[in-house]
C-alpha cells in the first residue's frame, strides 16, 4: 500500500505537490532557525565592552580584563626589561604623555597645595618593574555581586568601563557604563562607596587635589548631561553642573578651571570649586565634541564627530586657530601634545601632526594606519606609537610621520590607549587581553594578562 502510494506520489503532478509541500514544511523551520540565530547574536552586538587603559600605581596595574569588571594585577615572574638589554638601557624617561590630561592613567598622589593639574601617571621613572606576567589580586565585582559602603550585597552589572581608573591614596576610582562612580580599596578591592548618576559614564574621571584632603574633588561626567564634583572620601556630590547634553569626554583640570565637551557640540570651562562658567559663553559647534580635551600651552584642544579638531583659548573659549584642523572622519581619541606639536588620531585611519600655535600641518602628510585610530598615540622609545582599530601597532617617526619599522600585528581590536610601563608599552585589546610591546621593536609582543573569556591568541611581531 505504502509503495503504491509512494509511486503515485512520484508522478508528475505528485512530484510538484510533494516539492511544494516540502518547501512549505521547511520554510517555517528555516524561519525559526534564522530567528534563533539572530537572537543568539543580539546581545553580543549591542553590549558595551569598554576601552579603559590600564593604570599603574607602584607595581600594581588596575585594568579591566573582563567586561564590566576592574581587576588589580600584581607582577609575577622575572622582569621583562631585563630580557632586553636595550630595554633596560632605555629606562630613561622617554615616554611622553598627553599633556595635562587629567584623565590619563595615574594622577599624582602628591599634589601641590592648590588645586592643580593632575599629572599623568605611569612613568618609567616610577621604578615599576616590568613583569613577565601578572596575576589577579582582586576583581570587582566578584561574581557580579558587591556591597558598597557597608550596605547589603546587591547585584552589580557594570557592563563596561571606558575611562582610566584614578588612584588617590588607598583608593582607586572609576566610572562604569552602569552609571555609577565606584571607589575601591586598593588592597582588597572592597567597595568604599558608589555614586549613582542617571546615565552611563563613558568618559573618565578627573581628580583635583586641594589644600587639604577634604578639599580634594573627584569630577565625573555622565551621559545624563551633568558634571558631578564628588568628595573622594565619602562619595557625596558637593556640586553639580547641568550641561543639558550628554558628556562623553574626560574632564580636563587646569589650575582652577575644568574643561569638557558635550554631545550637543558645546565646550565648557567652569571653575573647579563652584562649577560656575568661566567663559562668557560656551564654545559651540555643529557636531558632538567627544575627544578628551587636552591642554597645549594656553589652548584647549578638543575634537569630535564633525571631523574637526579645535583649539580654544583657555581663558576666553574663542577659537585660537584661523581654521580648525579638518580630518576625514571623527576625532575621538585624545590628542597627544608634545611641546609645540599635537598628534591627533582620527577614525579616518590617519594621525595628524599639527603645530599647536597655528594648527598648520607638521608632517608632509598625515600618517596612514590600516584602520581607524581611536586610541591616543604615545611617545615611547623615540617613536610615536600608533595603535589602530584592527590591532596593528605602528612605530612612527615623530618628526616626519614616516613609518620606522613594520607594524606589530596583534590581530585584535584596539580601542584602548596604549600606556607606558617601565620603558615599554602596555596595550589592552578588546576582550581583555593585556599585551606588552617593545616600542623599539626588538622583542616580540607578549601576552602578560589574559582575559578569562578568551584563549591566548597568536601574535606576530
Amino acid at each position: 500500500m505504502f509503495v503504491r502510494n509512494r509511486a503515485q506520489l512520484l508522478g508528475s503532478v505528485g512530484q510538484e505537490r510533494h516539492g511544494l509541500s516540502v518547501r512549505r514544511r521547511a520554510f517555517p523551520l528555516l524561519f525559526i532557525i534564522a530567528l534563533l540565530l539572530l537572537a543568539a547574536g543580539c546581545r553580543r552586538a549591542a553590549s558595551p565592552e569598554g576601552w579603559t587603559p590600564p593604570t599603574a600605581q607602584g607595581d600594581t596595574l588596575y585594568v579591566s580584563i573582563e567586561n564590566g569588571k576592574l581587576a588589580a594585577l600584581e607582577p609575577q615572574g622575572p622582569a621583562l626589561s631585563s630580557a632586553s638589554p636595550t630595554a633596560s638601557a632605555a629606562a630613561t624617561p622617554t615616554a611622553t604623555f598627553p599633556a595635562s590630561s587629567s584623565g590619563s592613567p595615574l594622577p599624582s598622589t602628591t599634589g601641590s597645595p592648590t588645586a592643580t593639574v593632575t599629572p599623568p601617571a605611569v612613568s618609567p621613572s616610577n621604578g615599576a618593574p616590568a613583569a613577565a606576567s601578572f596575576r589577579i589580586r582582586w576583581e570587582f565585582p566578584k561574581d557580579d555581586k558587591a556591597s558598597c559602603g557597608g550596605g547589603p550585597e546587591e547585584s552589580r552589572k557594570l557592563e563596561g568601563i571606558y575611562g582610566a581608573p584614578v588612584v588617590r591614596g588607598n583608593k582607586v576610582y572609576f566610572g562604569a557604563y552602569d552609571g555609577n562612580v565606584y571607589a575601591l580599596d586598593t588592597a582588597t578591592g572592597a567597595c568604599a562607596w558608589a555614586f549613582k548618576t542617571d546615565g552611563p559614564i563613558i568618559g573618565g574621571l578627573a581628580l583635583a587635589v586641594g589644600d587639604t584632603p577634604a578639599a580634594d574633588r573627584l569630577y565625573a561626567a555622565s551621559d545624563d548631561g551633568k558634571l558631578y564634583a564628588l568628595n573622594p572620601e565619602s562619595g557625596v556630590a558637593m556640586n553639580v553642573f547641568d550641561a543639558g547634553s550628554s558628556i562623553w569626554t574626560t574632564p580636563l583640570i587646569n589650575g582652577n578651571n575644568i574643561y569638557f565637551g558635550t554631545v550637543a557640540g558645546t565646550a565648557y570651562a567652569l571653575r573647579s570649586d563652584t562649577l560656575a562658567p568661566v567663559w562668557s559663553k560656551p564654545f559651540e559647534t555643529e557636531a558632538a565634541l567627544i575627544s578628551d580635551p587636552v591642554l597645549a600651552g594656553d589652548k584647549v584642544i578638543i575634537g569630535g564627530i564633525g571631523w574637526k579638531l579645535f583649539a580654544l583659548d583657555a581663558k576666553t573659549g574663542n577659537p585660537a586657530w584661523d581654521q580648525p584642523v579638518k580630518g576625514d572622519n571623527w576625532f575621538w581619541g585624545r590628542p597627544l601634545v608634545d611641546g609645540k606639536t599635537i598628534y591627533a588620531p582620527n577614525l579616518d585611519h590617519k594621525v595628524y601632526a599639527v603645530n599647536a600655535d597655528t594648527g598648520a600641518a607638521v608632517w608632509p602628510q598625515p600618517f596612514k594606519a590600516d584602520d581607524g585610530v581611536r586610541a591616543s598615540p604615545l611617545l615611547a622609545g623615540g617613536s610615536l606609537i600608533v595603535a589602530d582599530r584592527e590591532g596593528n601597532i605602528f612605530s612612527v617617526d615623530p618628526a616626519t610621520g614616516a613609518e620606522q619599522r613594520p607594524p606589530t600585528i596583534l590581530s585584535r581590536t584596539i580601542l584602548s590607549d596604549p600606556v607606558p610601563f617601565g620603558g615599554d608599552v602596555l596595550v589592552m585589546v578588546q576582550g581583555g587581553n593585556l599585551y606588552h610591546i617593545d616600542p623599539r621593536g626588538e622583542a616580540a609582543p607578549r601576552l602578560v594578562a589574559a582575559s578569562f573569556a578568551s584563549a591566548t591568541p597568536a601574535v606576530s611581531p
Binding site: Q8, S21, P28, I32, L35, C42, A46, G306, L347
Partner: protein, 320 residues
C-alpha cells in the same frame, strides 16, 4: 529587463569577489539603510522613533506589490476552497485528486511563491534593519565607532550622530525592560500570522500553520527581550501596515475579520462545499444564526477545515 538583471548580478558577483560577501552585503544593503535612517532622522527633527516608523512605511510601500500578491494568492485560494473540497470528496485516487487540485489552483491563479516571497523579503528587511539599527542606535560606544566607518561623507549625516535614543517610554538602542514592547511585538506577530493563514489541503500543513500562529509570536517576544527596542518598533509598525494592506485587498469584509483576529474568539464554520452542503447545512445554518451579530468572516477557518478533513481521511485509512 533580463539585461538589467544580468548586469546587476554581474556587478554584485564582482563586488563579492573583490570585497568578500560580508563587505558586499554591508555596502549594498546595510550602509545605505543606515544612512537613509539617519537622513530620515534629520528630516523628522531628530526623533529616531518617528524615523523608524517613517522608514517602515516607505519600505512597505516599496514592497506593496509583493504584499498585495500575497493577499491575492490567499484570496484566490479561499475562492477555490469549495471546489477543492468537492474534488477531495469526489476523487479517492491521490494522484487523480492531486491533478485536479493543481488544475483548480492554476485556474484560480494561485501562486505558492506569492505567499512565501513577501515573507522572505520581510524577513530579509527585518534582518537588515536589525543590523542597521544595531549600528545606528549604538547601544554602546563601540558600535558608534563601527558606525563612523559606514556613514557617507556628508556633514549633514555626521552632525546627526549620536541619535536621540529616546522615543515614548523606550530607549531605542536597548531592549524594553517594561515588557510592553515585547508584548506588542508578540501580539502584532500573532495578528499577522492569523492573517497569513492560507487554506491548505493537508492536515500536516494546517498543524504547521497552527503551530506557527503561536510559536512565532512567542519566539519574537523572547527575541524582543534582548533586541534593541527600535527593531520592535519596526516590527509593530510593519504589522500594522499589513493590516491596512489586508483591508486594501479584502475591503471592508477583510477589515471586518479584524476583531476575530485581535480577539481570538471561536470562529464561525466555513461555507461548506456544494457536495457537502446537505450534510453540513444544519450545522452551518446554526452557526450563522448564532453569529448574526458578528461580522462575516471572509476566510474559512482553514485550520478547522483541514483538521476535519484530516480526521475523515484518517478514518478512511483505518477502514482500509
Amino acid at each position: 529587463m533580463t539585461l538589467i538583471s544580468f548586469i546587476a548580478i554581474a556587478v554584485v558577483a564582482s563586488m563579492v569577489l573583490i570585497y568578500g560577501f560580508s563587505n558586499t552585503f554591508n555596502l549594498i544593503l546595510i550602509n545605505p539603510l543606515i544612512n537613509a535612517l539617519i537622513v530620515l532622522d534629520r528630516l523628522v527633527f531628530g526623533e529616531f522613533g518617528v524615523a523608524i516608523i517613517l522608514f517602515t512605511l516607505l519600505v512597505r510601500l516599496a514592497t506593496l506589490p509583493f504584499t498585495i500578491r500575497q493577499f491575492q494568492s490567499m484570496k484566490s485560494m479561499q475562492a477555490a476552497q469549495p471546489r477543492l473540497e468537492e474534488v477531495r470528496k469526489k476523487f479517492k485516487d491521490p494522484r487523480k485528486r492531486s491533478e485536479e487540485e493543481m488544475k483548480i489552483m492554476r485556474e484560480h491563479g494561485f501562486n505558492p511563491l506569492g505567499c512565501v516571497m513577501p515573507m522572505v523579503i520581510q524577513f530579509g528587511l527585518f534582518f537588515c534593519l536589525y543590523r542597521a539599527l544595531v549600528f545606528t542606535m549604538g547601544g554602546s560606544p563601540e558600535s558608534l565607532i563601527g558606525l563612523s566607518q559606514r556613514l557617507y561623507p556628508w556633514s549633514f549625516i555626521h552632525e546627526s550622530v549620536p541619535l536621540n535614543q529616546h522615543f515614548l517610554w523606550l530607549n531605542l538602542g536597548q531592549p524594553d525592560t517594561t515588557f510592553i514592547l515585547p508584548i506588542l511585538v508578540g501580539y502584532a506577530t500573532y495578528v499577522q500570522q492569523k492573517l497569513s493563514i492560507t487554506p491548505n489541503a493537508t492536515p500536516q500543513q494546517a498543524q504547521q500553520q497552527q503551530m506557527m500562529t503561536w510559536m512565532m509570536p512567542l519566539i519574537l517576544v523572547w527575541i524582543s527581550l534582548s533586541l534593541p527596542s527600535g527593531v520592535g518598533v519596526y516590527w509593530v509598525a510593519t504589522n500594522i501596515f499589513t493590516l491596512f494592506a489586508s483591508y486594501y485587498v479584502y475591503g471592508r469584509r477583510g477589515l471586518g475579520s479584524w476583531w476575530h483576529v485581535l480577539l481570538p474568539l471561536p470562529t464561525p464554520t466555513p461555507a461548506p462545499a456544494p457536495a457537502a452542503r446537505s450534510q453540513q447545512q444544519a450545522a452551518a445554518e446554526k452557526n450563522e444564526q448564532s453569529d448574526d451579530d458578528r461580522p462575516e468572516r471572509v476566510t474559512a477557518p482553514a485550520s478547522k477545515v483541514r483538521a476535519a478533513h484530516g480526521k475523515r481521511r484518517g478514518k478512511r485509512k483505518n477502514r482500509r
